[in-house]
Point group: C2
Chain length 596, copies 2
């Protein structure tokens, strides 16, 4: 069960799929060079492989534990976290004036995958902190930034997102946590939040809670929500830590997976109220929260990639060592099961899924970088729109593939996969949350169809489809026989996606029910096709390298072919599912009645 | 989390999909009437709902425990098992001369679903016992039958299947457990078996182990395996229990799911050898074992149906009660999430999966009954061939759907689904073993393609495809508008299956690699299409009832339509995956190398 961070694959994807080197040259005027980035990613990989990954099993078996308001992290987490923070890893893409490395977000996403592949339960703490930093940076006052930002970027303090309440999960309209104005310009919070990841722990000196709450007289629904910052320990004017705030962790959950990550019930304001500071304006908390959520959504998509890669590596190692049955190739004795075609199919499906989802996450991150650093307003707007379009796909498609790949990992292990000590089942259990949190995946289908397809009058989605067509054309023109039917299958898939997109865009103004009925199938079709394009781009880049004399990457062509011939052919069927609209669901009440 | 056995749905499927009433009338000369069968199934449902289902949660949290060679079953299991045995449920399809009810196997499969829906962990004990009874009945000597059969059918003693060893899982060639001949005509066993379900427990007085082992000088491989019976307690001539045999449970496994079912390491022959009796002939153990395995495979497929139904009921209840977001219908306040189209899609997918897989399992069981009770040799052969063809599909497709449906059940629960106390995650964990044991599902794909497609010169498979075409035609001729595109989608799927079948049959003699590369996709295509035909048959039967004045079953038409329009459209894509052959996998060694 040795695991190593897939540094070379990630770097290849950054270059060949997301175009990082072009980005560096063209967009940031050479401020970062490729060697710097490659060495940062490699060092992250080394740290994760050596110091975090070995803790992942015991984090599952021991888990985070709770006693008397305190949470004890799993064995080794506190030490590893300290060294992680000392390495400056909390600030990969943070501004240099607050101690960050100020690297592109694309590099940050590469590192996010690396931490999560080593241990999802560990990496959730930085993931949430980074999201909190994002919201604070975008909407926090200068005073708040001065007190909190450097400490959070350095990893000395961590951050949380306090949104969910028992009656308000996917629907934030129902939030009841109450805020009151104090005389000194601060606020007091009263209420109970659930499912708060790393709401309490022993990894860092302080915990900075970002909390959605409602002021007296605020409008109903999400337009009456404000975002507050409430630290676990109040901060003295000199930056040292003062008294405990009026907030506590009441319990942690007993979960299917990510046992090492404490999921807390947080209680605010049992006596005088938790002291809090407003972030942004009153009743405008949702805008700030969306900054957090968008960053977190891409990061969660990246978790899907990471856990699939981890499961793949373990299944591959097992398949090379476990001997059962005769090889189709002949030979004496029992063969390693990797020689059986169905095991090859499962392993290649896992690997192709990892590479496809990784490519989509990288494209999304590159678009975010373009949105921030594009040379022109038009370039920045296009980047922002593309990131908005791709974020629900990066989140939902990648996490669905994470579930599928980790389940295949269990299957490859056979009976051993069902035994907890093997570790394969842990990946499946850990993975399962990613399709649920940061917006259950069905909600991302709705987001994609209702909010993202209309962007730029539909041009953002059209451009994306056209880019996939271009890739199919390029494979047909210069890919050659090794790509097999890649161009044909990718073209068909792109046409299916184009048809489905047109159907959706018509329904948006005429038949929302049909649009909603097909939203999940549409997202799947989009992700499946875009993933195929990412793999084909990687294959073409490998061939270009080979023409320069380096043929070490050519297996990427065969991987693209596998994906195109063995996974992509269902794309036209997905279009037909979308096209069938809502008719099949009109009788849902009688179908879902108890009587049949 | 109330659960009720789906008695009405099961009875409808027995009649409308598997044709039980025709079978009763035509094949068994009225020996069983429909009312008897309906009352047996109803009573099984009542017992399971009231006495077994409530134990399922604590069976998961407490589990089976091990101490000093003994296994303690979860709270309530021993009592429930005693009452289950007293009810005669161990003998639903067993011969009446040994105390059985002698009902058709189809009724037995109905009951198997009922026990497993109530608790998979509990139901595994009867499942294994029944398989052992099957092998004993088919190959045991009269002496053995006289000593063991009545006690096993009555449930006083239970049975096990001892196949797997650490080095021999899917591949029985590697079995090393050794048998020696004793002077008295009995044998002595020496060896270690793993993954022995209910190898030790406190539910019954005695445990009858069926053990695959190798005699001195036996041929290598599976042709040198013999099947033995070794009881936990030796049986005195008067039928009372004597000394302990030389066998013991050394430990039980810590598993992902089915915690209530002890999975044992069994050690045979630590001193003088475990006393054992031969079943059938020396070195012919595999034939007897296949009798057990075939019965167990259909039963495991039925577990997939059962656990999907259980997860569906729980998700449905949650979706009716949990309120989040506005309804598409409008209205004040938060709506039950069942009003959201994507939740409807997930629930209907779960329900359609249950009904499709149930139909396939029932068709398989009906074929087994025809094989036993057909009026002519030709009828019996056709029944046996059809059962052989459908068994791998019933096993693998149903258990894959079980995994998918239970995962959807978690998803519908949102964050609560990830919390163990909710219980939704347990179904997903319990379900996961079914695609692994009794032959990992990939092996059933191979079995279907290599061994089952050639049956009767290919006629068995052709007939099956033609039956699906007939259903599509019937829907087109008399189904009407409520079926939507059911006939069109089912026809397309049947043609896709026909093409894939032809491709496979050509490859069987020319290109085994391509046949193996597409075996899993082919099995999926077969199951998906056959499932659609089962649902359409049920819909047609519901319309026939409505014409007689009973319109209470008409929602089955809408369920068939949902399946056809929302799940079946990927069938042509699956055919294209099959058709692409092994080309995409030829480079597997470089694709699965560490270097990319």
């Amino acid at each position: 069960m040795t695991y190593r961070s897939p540094v070379a694959d990630i770097l290849f994807s950054l270059k060949a799929v997301a175009g990082l080197s072009e980005f560096i040259g063209a967009k940031l005027d050479g401020e970062f060079d490729w060697e710097t980035i490659a060495s940062v990613v490699s060092e992250a990989g080394r740290f994760a492989t050596e110091e975090i990954a070995p803790l992942n099993r015991s984090a599952d078996t021991v888990g985070a534990t709770y006693a008397n308001g305190a949470v004890i992290s799993p064995p080794g987490f506190a030490d590893a976290y300290r060294r992680w923070a000392e390495g400056g890893w909390g600030g990969v893409s943070a501004p240099s004036e607050f101690g960050g490395m100020a690297l592109p977000h694309l590099v940050n996403v590469a590192c996010t995958e690396i931490w999560n592949g080593a241990s999802m339960a560990f990496a959730l703490c930085p993931l949430l902190t980074e999201s909190a930093i994002g919201a604070l940076k975008a909407y926090g006052s200068k005073d708040l930034l001065d007190v909190y930002l450097e400490a959070m970027i350095s990893g000395r303090w961590t951050g949380t997102m306090n949104l969910t309440e028992a009656q308000a999960g996917s629907d934030l309209n129902g939030i009841r946590t109450r805020a009151e104005r104090a005389d000194d310009g601060t606020y007091r919070l009263f209420g109970e939040k659930i499912f708060i990841t790393y709401g309490e722990h022993d990894l860092a000196e302080n915990i900075v809670h970002l909390v959605l709450a409602r002021l007296p007289g605020a409008p109903a629904g999400t337009r009456g929500l404000s975002l507050f910052l409430a630290p676990k320990f109040l901060v003295n004017p000199d930056g040292s830590l003062g008294a405990s705030n009026d907030l506590r962790c009441a319990s942690i959950e007993h979960k299917l997976g990510i046992h090492g990550s404490p999921t807390c019930v947080m209680i605010f304001g049992e006596s005088e109220g938790a002291k809090a500071w407003l972030i942004g304006e009153e009743n405008r908390g949702l805008a700030a929260m969306f900054v957090m959520m968008n960053a977190a959504r891409l990061a969660v998509g990246t978790q899907g990639v990471a856990i699939a890669e981890r499961a793949y590596q373990q299944a591959l190692e097992f398949a090379r060592e476990r001997r059962q049955g005769r090889s189709a190739k002949g030979g004496e004795g029992m063969a390693p099961i990797i020689e059986h075609p169905d095991v090859q199919r499962m392993l290649m499906t896992m690997k192709a899924s990892v590479h496809a989802a990784r490519g989509i996450c990288h494209l999304t991150a590159a678009s975010l970088d373009l949105a921030s650093h594009g040379r022109t307003e038009a370039e920045r707007t296009a980047g922002a729109n593309r990131a908005a379009l791709l974020t629900p796909i990066a989140k939902a498609f990648s996490t669905d593939l994470g579930d599928e790949a980790t389940s295949l990992g269990v299957q490859i292990h056979g009976g051993m996969g069902f035994i907890e000590e093997t570790g394969a089942a842990q990946h499946m259990r850990d993975s399962r949350i990613a399709a649920i949190y940061e917006g259950a995946n069905g909600i991302h289908g709705i987001d994609l169809v209702l909010r993202k397809l209309p962007l730029a009058g539909g041009a953002t989605a059209r451009n994306e489809v056209n880019e996939m067509r271009d890739v199919a054309r390029a494979v047909s023109e210069r890919g050659g026989a090794d790509f097999g039917a890649t161009s044909a299958r990718l073209s068909e898939a792109a046409e299916a996606l184009d048809q489905a997109t047109r159907a959706m865009q018509i329904w948006l103004s005429s038949d929302t029910e049909s649009a909603l009925a097909g939203a999940s199938a549409y997202l799947r079709l989009f992700g499946l096709t875009l993933g195929g394009a990412c793999l084909a781009k990687a294959g073409l880049a490998a061939q270009a390298l080979a023409r320069e004399g380096d043929d070490s990457e050519l297996a990427r062509v065969a991987l693209a072919r596998f994906y195109a011939e063995k996974l992509l052919p269902v794309a036209p069927g997905l279009n037909r599912i979308v096209a069938s609209g809502a008719g099949a669901m009109k009788s849902y009440e009688s179908v879902l009645a108890d009587s049949i």
